[in-house]
Subunit: 94 residues, 4 copies
């Protein structure tokens, strides 16, 4: 199955592995009793990194799956647009 | 000039006027020395209402301007997708 | 009744009036058929301005109401801290 | 060194390990070509889980480090309040 991100899976995976490293870094900070505010700063950085991946995936999705649905026409196109907007809503709320 | 939201401008304007009322309500709360936490709760509600309008406009935009660019094909389609993703990024960051 | 923001109500009110102006600017943009993405950019700016007021009020609240409760001691201090954290949660979610 | 979260490090660590699992789950989803929107939904859930840990740490911090600074009095209390508000600002922006 082809997806918007299929062409650069490696880049996405590299970013997700770096985020996994950031979460392990958070565990180490807590383990070593780092200052609360420093832990919070790292959480903000990790959240930002996750959201950057989300924006990348969303752009891929619009340029690929949503584009294909629009080119094919019909009610599917409208459903894909609605689905993408709902995904953005979840991102904004999180 | 036609836009994604042209078909339901009245509904969008009604929501924006309600948000304007919420902001005036905030001024009144501050004026009448309401409790800080209650003012913060109202700010959160106002922010949510603004973001709901943004999601609505984004869905209109994808279903209209972006859809037209994709149907027309060419480099413009890709540019519209990128522009929409950048707008989502600003929403997520705000 | 004294609140954290009592000392600089004027500054807070000035910012809220500017935000009210931004919301009226949004209505004008929609009325004059501005491009969807430009409206979204202005919504992001308005949301940011609202959240900046929230951060200001929160700092005032911590430095005043929460500080007084802690100085007074007892279970009220713990309740104020919990209440402030819940307000931050609503801000982060909005 | 004692911190706000020292009393329930285990609970915090458990949550961070679960978040690490969520990030590894994201890598698996991308590896197995899951649908973009489903990956986005999981990113939103992971972001929410991270922010819930942040709110928890913030409440601990206010109830511990900030409370101690306020009880000790002097300019340090004001500095701690400002630092906490700046941390909240980074959370809200991320």
């Amino acid at each position: 199955m082809e997806h918007g991100y299929s062409d650069h899976k490696d880049a996405i995976q590299k970013r997700l592995r770096r985020i996994e490293g950031q979460v392990r870094g958070l565990q180490r900070m807590v383990d070593e009793d780092h200052y609360c505010i420093d832990v919070l700063t790292q959480i903000s950085a990790t959240t930002k990194a996750l959201q950057a991946v989300a924006i990348e995936l969303l752009e891929d999705h619009l340029g690929h799956c949503v584009t294909h649905a629009i080119e094919a026409g019909g009610p599917e196109a409208r459903a894909k647009v609605r689905e993408a907007a709902a995904a953005v809503e979840r991102l904004v709320r999180s």
